[in-house]
Symmetry: C2
Subunit: 658 residues, 2 copies
């Protein structure tokens, strides 16, 4: 890999690659299969290929400064009046690491197409559609109400039956009907079609929002329901964090405080309402122009958003208050959308496998493939899907928050100053580190200056994973996870065990034996969950692995496999699928068929409760070793020089004596 | 008629009669066909025959003081702890004029039965029903949500299909399901059955309210949906009165004031919400225990309640914003009921014939009869229904507010101090009057003392109607409505015309020529509307007349016919049907079938717009005469000694010269 190459991550797909300095973004996108519309073929003549350089807004792993990482804006872009954070991807050339947002829903459609049938395009089939009708003036001879005449006219012109008018439109129907020509928004995803919006004249604008409510961040996308195009994206920290960093501490907060549930519900709804305002502001529309919302989240987020006490999710039997898909009115949830706006929440799969996992399954589930496919979405719990077109299994594994940097002595959330990448020289044991928000690696020119801005404050999830994996590959950590004394002053005794010092500066950052145990517990649980599903499916290997979410975007699959977090698999068959939950939410927003699809899928998913399975414990024990005590990891061994499996135990005992 | 007899009016039926002092109320009720439950047969042993002595609460015609108009409470009633305004009707004896409320829904059922098929009882078939189920504890092996399990269990046990849970119950479902046995309220009058209420354990209490929103007063009845029994009644002045006395002045207020519609809507909803609190308080329940509401009102009241601008109803083509029946959620209307409570509004018939008229039609419409039946509900507009089982026609006539005492020189709303009854001695022309709130007639002992309390302040609707009719019968007013000079100092010149002085006291109250013209215009319009419908139906006479509302309860049918307000008909076939709109609302509350019935009825009603019919004008001109220039009024002439039809014109010209 040329050291001049720069990392570019395309959102929302999460596809990533390294490209030579000066590569046009459009070319980079195409080489990764990221679809960006371009009518003129890259000749700066259509301005359709616009992308947006994000500043890590949906990105728990921090910020990439964009200004000097793209070529300056040239004449052609200025001519097209491309503005804000937008650039024309055929003109903008890669000058540094970048996170790029492709603000077009075509990306989603293509992505889905690819997984279903290579040629077919997904037709736009939104739950809410605009229809135009003209009404004659009221006649005294036929004293039927304006609303009733309107319903009859739309039924006659557009083939609806049993159409009704939403109560919130009773006060506008007269004024609109008097104009003659009018536009109605008809919501079709209810027991009977409902007119949810009314405007005088012809109107071709209707909008929807898709939200992915994460424990840490909430991301929203505003979509034009007429064109299917994404018109704005925004994200925010989940304000529930002040009530508890992780899910279980928020559940505890609810259990301990009489008004806790209400406070958490208000917090998340308020955040969504203000994101709605931001999204509308970006697109130059009003929140009241938004007619549909789809929201996904894990069960605790899902329940708190709905105003449901999540306490039962904190203890066996982890009972969901509601698991089925929900079709609600936005006004009952205080989201500040159009008064008639409708809300859809996909079903939850099980007590720890929520509507977000269902949404991942919709977008990227094993049911799209003939090969045995494993889909993993890692957060505090890992949601695991395994199967083929024929069968899909789901489980969650209690990985705990170690992969997110919690429970690690120097751990921190992914933010500027966090060590995010680690390399250990296998000969000298000397580490190289990459710090979030700092471009050069620690051994590259300019690092000392660049790191002044952020400092080095700790180590985040991807950093600790790479550190442990590299230490294992270098022989500093044995297969059973023990740090051994090597010929380096980086290893130092700490009581009866050893630490490995990654960084010495204003503060010292070390990987401790306890840190490694935490990672072993987490990765053991993750692997054991996947393995348990493999047992149930009756397979001994998986043929494809998809890593969803921030985990998938920021963890190098190689290191995940070196640690034995994921089962053995050809490395090139391991891919990152980006924010698949968000993608699934947008699919449900854009196409009613996808709602039926996710509901049918969740019904047929075989739910495995790891806590009830004795085999889980056995797999877990074996999976504590690096990469695994019971599995050969043949594909991994072919790609990476693993330490000899028998050696570590001898070396460790030898060293310990010394 | 014995002068010792006392007038008793039974509500809600409006049945009235005169009874000897000391008659037990139960006997009086039975003699009028008013059904009061009595298990013990009047032996003071069951306390089931309770009635309530109202103080005219639903009564635009004022107050009857009740304390000394019933025999004192005896031992047996004290033993049964009958309290508040309640009395046992077998024990309470008539000692004065009374308005009595029969607080039992059985009265309604019997009343309806009588009109349909003498033997059949109306089965209770409420839209919202209580069901009990037991749920097993949640199982980890089957991670289905509590709400989903609940739905499945109720579907299985009670035969529902497609059952859903109301969004407002998402936050209580867990707590309720944990108890095992639970009670759910299932609302069946929606596209699919909806669980609208949930309680732990077995519960047998569910309540509904029926409201009749009048321009002047709002009346509400609280009904036990399990037994069908009315458990409380309350009424209040419509607070919209401060924005305008009559409908058109309120419509004007909305047209002139930007926030007018909102203010009027808040006023009526607020009044209903506070009536809900009072009703709940009377019954010892919470407003949140009320699961259903049915509301009826004229089109302007209906629209304002719904938050719809009523301005188009004030001018041709008098277009309704919505005419069909409405099924809504109470929470969208701010009524303060149970969060899941549902609201039903019957359809409006036409721009001036509202949901209240539809409700009258449901309870008392011509479709119940083989005979040609005319139903009249008089307010500012008169709503008129005519037909038989085969055909029903409806219209409204612009009577204006003269019948309510407005547009009359000394006119006033029916309130204590208003002249409500008038008799003119045909020989001496000396008037006798009866004042509202004063027991003796003006020529009876004790009148002078009794009238001190109220004074004599004006003349209300029933008073002016009786005055004009009696003046006509006495020959003081001619058939064309002219006051002529007779041998009495009561007649005095006023410019070129004459007044008739009804009362001389601190203030003088006279019937002026202008007053008579106003009554002629009003009664002419009412008659012309009825006659127009007779033309359309192809009949020259009606066989039965029913007078609804306060008009029906307080106007003597004889005087109505003497004036020619209503067509000729045997007097004994003219009856008062009380608050039929309220009765219809309660029928829709208690039986889903009645909702389908009123909707089907309104669809088949032939709506006649009087403003479009040239014949209306011709009938109107003829109907200006007393009783009518083109109709013989044979039945009336047989019952009442009418002045000779030819005489008046000669007498008038003769007198005028004098």
């Amino acid at each position: 890999m040329d050291t001049e190459d720069r990392l570019v991550v395309f959102q929302p797909s999460g596809r990533r690659g390294r490209f030579a300095l000066g590569t046009p973004l459009l070319d980079a996108a195409r080489s990764l299969g990221v679809y960006i519309e371009s009518v003129c073929g890259g000749r700066a003549m259509c301005a359709r290929c616009q992308i947006e350089v994000t500043e890590g807004r949906f990105d728990t792993y921090g910020v990439v400064s964009s200004n000097d990482h793209l070529s300056p804006m040239g004449e052609s872009e200025r001519r097209w009046k491309v503005g804000g954070a937008r650039r024309m991807s055929c003109q903008a050339r890669i000058m540094g690491d970048l996170v790029v947002d492709v603000p077009s829903e075509f990306a989603v459609n293509r992505q889905v197409v690819r997984k279903r049938a290579e040629v077919r395009r997904i037709a736009l089939d939104t739950a809410t559609k605009l229809v135009c009708v003209s009404l004659p003036a009221a006649e005294m001879e036929h004293p039927i109400g304006d609303a009733d005449r309107l319903v009859e006219a739309i039924e006659a012109a557009h083939g609806y039956r049993g159409l009704v008018l939403d109560v919130t439109l009773l006060d506008v129907v007269q004024g609109v009907v008097q104009q003659g020509m009018l536009t109605a928004a008809v919501h079709e995803d209810a027991d009977r079609p409902v007119i949810v919006g009314l405007w005088p004249g012809a109107r071709m604008a209707a909008f929807g929002v898709a939200f992915d409510i994460g424990s840490t961040t909430i991301a929203g996308h505003l979509v034009d329901l007429v064109t299917g195009r994404a018109v704005a994206s925004a994200g925010t920290a989940n304000p529930q964090i002040r009530f508890g960093e992780d899910l279980m501490s928020r559940v505890s907060y609810v259990m301990m405080n009489p008004d806790g549930r209400e406070a958490l519900t208000q917090a998340v709804r308020g955040a969504i309402a203000s994101l709605v305002s931001r999204l509308a502001g970006q697109a130059g529309i009003l929140p009241g122009d938004i007619l549909e919302a789809v929201l996904v989240g894990n069960p605790v987020m899902h329940h708190l958003f709905l105003g449901i006490d999540p306490s039962p999710l904190g203890q066996a039997p982890f009972a969901l208050a509601v698991s089925g898909a929900l079709r609600l009115c936005a006004r009952d949830l205080g989201l500040g959308l159009h008064p008639g706006a409708r809300v859809y929440l996909p079903p939850c799969i099980a007590g720890h496998v929520g509507a977000d996992a269902a949404s991942v399954a919709l977008a990227e589930g094993p049911q799209h493939h003939d090969e045995v496919t494993l889909v993993i979405d890692v957060g505090t719990n890992a949601e695991i899907l395994l199967g083929t077109r024929a069968r899909v299994l789901a489980a969650s594994s209690p990985t705990g928050p170690a992969f997110e940097g919690a429970q690690i002595s120097a751990g921190q959330r992914a933010a500027p100053g966090a060590i995010e990448r680690v390399r250990i020289d296998p000969l000298t044991f000397e580490p190289r580190i990459k710090v979030l928000g700092v471009d050069p690696w620690s051994d590259e020119p300019g690092f000392a200056e660049a790191v002044q801005a952020t400092g080095i404050t700790g180590i985040c999830g991807s950093g600790i994973i790479e550190a442990v994996a590299e230490l294992f590959l270098a022989g500093v950590v044995t297969a059973d996870g023990t740090i051994v004394e090597v010929a380096s002053d980086r290893v130092r005794a700490s009581g009866r065990v050893f630490d490995f010092v990654l960084w010495r500066g204003e503060i010292e950052i070390a990987v401790t034996q306890t840190d490694i145990r935490a990672i072993q517990l987490a990765k053991g649980a993750l692997y054991a969950g996947a393995r348990l599903l493999m047992d149930h499916l009756g397979v001994s290997a998986v043929e494809r692995i998809k890593l969803a979410g921030a985990f998938g975007s920021y963890i190098d699959p190689k290191y995940a496999m070196v640690l034995g977090m994921i089962p053995d698999c050809p490395l090139e068959r391991v891919s990152s699928i980006g924010n698949a939950a968000g993608t699934g939410a947008r699919m449900a927003l854009l196409n009613r068929g996808h709602r039926a699809e996710v509901e049918a899928l969740v019904r047929r998913v075989e739910k495995i409760e790891t806590a009830l399975e004795p085999a889980f414990q056995a797999h877990f024990v074996n999976a504590m070793a690096l990469p695994n005590a019971a599995e050969p990891f043949v594909h991994l061994a072919a790609a990476v020089a693993l330490p000899a499996p028998a050696a570590p135990r001898e070396r460790r005992s030898g060293r310990r004596r010394g």
